[in-house]
């Protein structure tokens, strides 16, 4: 029989190895799932992980998509990881993402059709503020009334989705849209367009922002007192209080940063790749970012890599849908499985497996 035995200290080697092990296990389990669906598992795995980057036919389209998809995932996941490290569970990034997009787009559209260099910066500020304020609701309810931030932040996603529909159908609906839901397309409004910076790369301002967020988060966590307190609060809350960390301030800061970054991600998406506010504008980045954060072991560099990998599964999934007829939902299940395996093998960092022989009494 196998017994778990707590290690005297967390294993660093396993801490690095578990994400790779989890990806491997997910590929195996996913392959089995694809086989049950009647698809060739090897072709499916290849289509998801290899073809988007190296297949001559698709790579030219897929490669830029990698940055387009990874940008928002990384941006959101960096914010979430700060909170998760402190034991503050903002799982409503999807809502903050939507609100950021609405606020940013509304700011831009308010100036339409005026052209000025100031419009995009204003939109960026509005987007970040929108996400931040949306996240302040669970943060303040938590600090003032001790209300569970998990439930509140999540429930606010549904409110944000309804608000998104209301905006697409109401206040922000394009007057020239012939009555169809959806706002004006910001891609056709140069002052508000978050355009590709280098053609054919997918690189836009949101990707730059994500990279900056990675660097800032790295410095914050490894070199700054606030980052130290964040880690303390998650690893030993009483010790954090003893050290002088202020729990309420940490909640507000972590939720604020993650909300602001999610809002930014939403703004860059609506002003760039998506182009407009529509009923189905959000595509689950806020939830997938939770997986990205964990897969990256809540470490900024890890999140950067995890974001790229998760973006690959999105693109590869679409490709597999197109070439192999793999259902879209299977990719969602695949991503969920990845998180399972990751959390499951995570215990290897803190526990050691040991074979025990029974009957030694």
């Amino acid at each position: 029989m196998i017994a778990l035995e707590k290690r005297p200290a967390p294993s660093r080697a396993w801490s690095m190895a578990t994400p790779f092990l989890a990806v491997l296990l997910t590929m195996i389990a996913g392959g089995i799932m694809f086989a049950i669906l009647g698809k060739d598992p090897f072709a499916a795995i290849r289509t998801i992980f290899y073809d988007p980057l190296f297949n001559a036919q698709f790579a030219s389209y897929s490669r830029p998509q990698l940055l387009v998809k990874a940008g928002p995932l990384i941006l959101i996941a960096i914010g979430l990881s700060l909170g998760f490290r402190a034991g503050i569970w903002n799982i409503g990034a999807e809502g903050q993402y939507i609100i950021g997009a609405i606020c940013g787009a509304a700011t831009g559209l308010a100036f339409y059709p005026m052209e000025s260099w100031i419009i995009l910066p204003l939109m960026i500020i509005a987007g970040a503020l929108g996400g931040l304020l949306w996240a302040m609701v669970p943060a303040l309810l938590k600090t003032l009334f001790n209300t569970n931030e998990i439930l509140v932040s999540l429930l606010m996603v549904y409110i944000a989705e309804q608000l998104l529909a209301a905006m697409a159908l109401g206040a922000l609906r394009s007057p020239d849209g012939g009555g169809f839901p959806g706002s004006r397309n910001l891609q056709q409004y140069p002052s508000a367009h978050n355009a590709e910076l280098i053609a054919g790369t997918g690189l836009h301002l949101g990707v730059i922002a994500a990279l900056i967020a990675v660097i800032m988060a790295y410095i914050l966590l490894s070199r700054h007192m606030l980052g130290f307190h964040i880690q303390l609060a998650g690893s030993a809350p009483k010790a954090a209080r003893f050290a002088g960390a202020k729990p309420g301030l940490l909640v507000v800061t972590c939720m604020g940063i993650s909300g602001g970054l999610a809002g930014l991600a939403g703004l860059f998406e609506v002003a760039g790749p998506a182009g407009q506010i529509s009923i189905d504008f959000n595509s689950g980045y806020g939830f997938t970012a939770i997986i990205v954060a964990f897969l990256g072991r809540l470490n900024p560099i890890g999140i950067l890599l995890a974001g790229l990998l998760m973006a690959l599964t999105y693109i590869g999934g679409e490709l597999a849908q197109f070439t192999l007829g793999l259902p879209a939902a299977s990719i969602q299940a695949f991503q969920g499985m990845l998180l399972f395996f990751l959390l499951g093998v995570d215990m290897l960092t803190n526990f050691r497996l040991r074979w025990k022989t029974k009957g030694a009494v």
């Binding site: 005297p8 700054h224 690893s235 030993a236 009483k238 010790a239 209080r241 003893f242 002088g244 009494v361």
Partner: protein
């Protein structure tokens, strides 16, 4: 007469440590048998083996002449073995009767059980209301719940694990009367303790454990405390030296501090006043749960109070957060080493940063200097003889004594003006305890004001110059330690004033 219980060659190893090695002993019927040993000597593992919580790697036991190898506590209980745990196995949100029922194999119907509890508690002089919620009970009352839970099963062998650590001297007398009565009824008792005087007063036989092995057997009534201590520790004990220097000017003053409890089952502080002078070790005694944690939190800054209720050199600091207080020279070490004074999963370097940032200037403009923090950790390790591979080791990998030396050393090396420590030697082996006590005395001799909160009266009598007792959130009038007898201290702990015996209202 054949023994009621015998253990033969019990061995149990955990990775890196042999908890019990070839342990053999016998307990006679109606005998109170002491199991004596330091923290970490293997007492807990041994009693868990008897109670069916731990399976030995080798060796066997007999009960009443028949082989005894309980696979789980249930089996031990039905064979007539009952146990009162050191850290109570009670459920705070449940009531007394429910707690008792959970520890029984076939509890009667709730109403009949409540009736039985009342009967037994009256018969043994342990008054208890079966319908009260356990979270509202004092430590002494909680122990009664555990004892009554055991007594209702008519045990042949009752195991008591460090039962007096949470009791006042008067409550100890009541407990001993109960145990002697059980003995006269033919029940055997295995009594685990490291308190020598108690064992000499109560027990008929003693088995002494050191590092997992039996190192001696004796009749404690015929051995001196000194002989027992030397068998237990292995060497002659070093007592801390102290210079009796007259205390200087008041440094830390607490005036009429009142603080509501932090949690549902916490204790409110009521009108607490005290003064600690330069060069003085001020001892605060009291049974756990009488406001020690709350007082500690108020002094360390974890909880804010009236600004003027706590003063340093006459200036109010009650509203300052922990980091500002440290900057002013108030350092502290809470009771719970792992999780409160230190973060278990973090390295010693990181744990040095935890409190050292201000006074050791480990930061600059909010940015951390890990190199300096590592040097600080190394200094603590060297000066306080902390046994560890190095400063990158996680705190939880250290033994209790070594981590406590690190925690206390980390505060002392910040040259505090005031040091507040709660339970400085709780669960620490004798050598480390002596080192820590000596360090506290040295700090005071250097002019600092030292406040020691402890449940260990022997410790306070050894190092404190003044003594006051906490009871239900109130602090007694302080007295010079030399003027107090053990009886006086007992009365103070019970909420009565010393000497005059007036009620501290």
């Amino acid at each position: 007469m054949s023994p009621l219980f015998s253990a033969n060659g019990l061995t149990k190893a955990y990775p890196g440590v042999i908890a019990n090695e070839d342990v053999s002993f016998e307990i006679g019927t109606g005998e109170i048998h002491a199991l004596l040993g330091e923290n970490g000597a293997g007492k807990s593992t041994l009693v868990k083996t008897i109670y069916g919580l731990v399976k030995p790697d080798s060796g066997e036991m007999t009960l009443n002449g028949a082989p005894f190898a309980p696979p789980e506590p249930r089996a031990a209980r039905s064979a007539g073995v009952a146990m009162v745990f050191q850290h109570f196995s009670l459920f705070e949100a449940l009531d007394v009767a429910e707690n008792v029922a959970l520890g029984m194999e076939n509890p009667p119907k709730p109403r009949a059980l409540a009736q039985r509890i009342s009967e037994v508690s009256a018969a043994y002089g342990l008054p208890l209301d079966p319908h009260r919620t356990v979270g509202d009970l004092s430590a002494g009352e909680r122990q009664r719940v555990e004892i009554i839970r055991c007594l209702l099963q008519d045990p042949r062998l009752l195991i008591m694990d460090e039962p007096t650590s949470v009791l006042t001297p008067q409550e100890v007398d009541t407990l001993f009367a109960t145990l002697n009565r059980l003995k006269s009824e033919g029940t055997s008792i295995l009594y685990i303790s490291h308190k020598l005087e108690e064992i000499r007063a109560l027990c008929d036989a003693a088995t002494i454990l050191r590092r997992g092995k039996v190192v001696g057997r004796c009749d404690p009534r015929e051995s001196s405390a000194r002989e027992l201590a030397e068998m237990m520790v292995g060497t002659a004990l070093h007592r801390p030296e102290r210079d009796i220097t007259p205390p200087g000017a008041p440094v830390l003053e607490v005036m009429n501090l009142t603080l509501p409890p932090a949690s549902a089952f916490g204790t409110a502080l009521k009108d607490v006043s005290l003064t600690v002078r330069s060069g003085e070790v001020f001892g605060i005694g009291g049974v756990a749960g009488n406001g020690q944690d709350e007082l500690m939190a108020a002094l360390s800054g974890e909880r804010r109070t009236d600004h003027a209720a706590i003063c340093l050199d006459g200036a109010g600091i009650g509203a300052l957060p922990p980091r500002d207080r440290r900057a002013l020279g108030i350092c502290s070490a809470p009771e719970e080493r792992l999780g409160h004074a230190a973060a278990p999963d973090m390295s010693l370097t990181q744990n040095a940063m935890l409190t050292g940032a201000e006074r050791r200037e480990l930061t600059r403009g909010g940015f951390l200097n890990w190199g300096k923090s590592r040097e600080f950790a190394e200094e603590v390790i060297e000066r306080f003889d902390v046994r560890t591979p190095g400063p990158e080791e996680a705190a939880r990998a250290l033994s209790g004594g070594n981590l406590q030396k690190f925690v206390v050393g980390r505060e002392i090396l910040q040259s505090p003006r005031v040091l507040i420590v709660n339970q400085p030697t709780w669960g620490v082996d004798a050598a480390a305890a002596a080192a820590i006590r000596q360090a506290l005395l040295d700090l005071a001799a250097g002019g600092a004001a030292v406040l020691v909160i402890s449940q260990d009266l022997d410790e306070l009598m050894e190092i404190a110059t003044s003594f006051a007792a906490l009871n239900a959130g109130r602090l007694s009038e302080p007295h010079p330690m030399t003027e107090l007898s053990l009886d006086d201290i007992g009365l103070m702990l019970g909420g009565m004033g010393a000497e005059t015996g007036e009620t501290a209202a």
